[in-house]
Symmetry: C2
Subunit: 224 residues, 2 copies
């Protein structure tokens, strides 16, 4: 069978297997043999593509963060062709909530990594966890935009509100993971806060339909 193999694709597949099994049994309980079995390959191959477990874990983390960026982008795209600042902020926040079963695993593993990084300096040095300030900057910028479009109270403290929103989303996310709250109630709480910050000039009730057909082009920023 030794036809030339795409190493990157192979590594990505193994990384997905890692995330899957970690989502089920917890990141702490994942061994290389488990990953191999989940990916349907032999232990030797996991070693072959990632020499060490540390390497595998790093790669898994990288995939997760990249996946998060893609999820945000997809949600923003789904918010319409020219989404207003609120729609973008909402997309960003909602993405950080574990709603369906797949994103539940996603967030569980990502949170596990973050917690590991607190005491594992090798993980903390990985750049993929090193810039969550990017999200803060992005949300702050979006709130600024909204203020200039007179969608916010003129004296709103955008940076503080951005931090508060992100922290709230993170906290709600772990609440959902822990089974203390449903995804629906969490989104309701989040939307309540958004409704407070954004003085909705038109529809105020939680209508998830088309909102804010803003003429101003809000260019999507990088966002992680």
């Amino acid at each position: 069978m030794p036809k030339r193999v795409d190493h990157d694709e192979r590594r990505a597949e193994i990384g997905r297997a890692l995330v899957r099994v970690a989502g089920r049994r917890g990141l702490h309980a994942v061994g290389m043999r488990d990953v191999a079995a989940e990916a349907g390959i032999s232990l030797r191959l996991v070693q072959y593509y990632f020499q060490t477990k540390e390497n595998l874990l790093f790669h898994g983390l990288q995939q997760l963060t990249e996946g998060f960026g893609e999820r945000v982008a997809a949600r923003v795209r789904a918010a319409g062709e020219n989404p207003g600042p609120r729609a973008v902020v909402e997309a960003l926040l909602m993405t950080s909530l574990p709603t369906d079963e797949e994103s539940r695993a996603f967030h569980l593993v990502l949170t596990s990594y973050a917690l590991l990084a607190v005491t594992d300096e090798a993980l903390a040095a990985q750049p993929y966890l090193r810039r969550p300030d990017a999200a803060e900057d992005a949300v702050t910028g979006l709130l600024e935009q909204a203020r200039e479009a007179e969608l916010l109270a003129p004296d709103a403290d955008t940076r503080t509100e951005a931090v508060a929103l992100l922290a709230m989303a993170a906290g709600l996310g772990t609440s959902i993971l822990a089974g203390q709250r449903t995804a629906e109630s969490a989104t309701a709480v989040l939307r309540h806060q958004l409704n407070r910050i954004f003085r909705t000039s038109s529809a105020s009730s939680p209508r998830p339909a088309a909102n804010s057909p803003s003429p101003k082009g809000t260019s999507l920023s990088n966002i992680d």
Copy 2:
């Protein structure tokens, strides 16, 4: 030395050792030998007082949650003799932030437990993690009190605000743990939200300046 020994005190001491070492190296990296060394006793004794590691972990979790309750109580006590609802809420929220080095370990380990409980049903069945709704009820009740004392907007959604506050505190706490935010900026964000919710008894103008509007003088300037 075989004079009768207070088992409970011994177990508590070992539990404290567990939390200490877990705070340094992470809960996942803690073994019974580490706990024994940290407590200055032999491995055999850790086995003697806790038969199994699972038992030790359960006990450690119990100690942590009990410690949390005591911390809240101490902070409320420090808030004055007859603290208003806001002072109590603030004490509760501030307690859930890792400020000094000791509480940092405290929250790191507690968060690790919570995350473990997601995939470990034996841990999830432990009653000490089973009642975080209690905090939600407490804060909601306090907000109700405040509303009746006309410290809140009469149409405030107390339960939603309570959930939001608790989620925000949790999220800010993990941010501090991850080194993404200082404890000072986190407390500032939290106070900003409290200032928003608790408005002065006269007007609804948001005062970002000093707080303590209560007639009883609910100024708690404790905090480390």
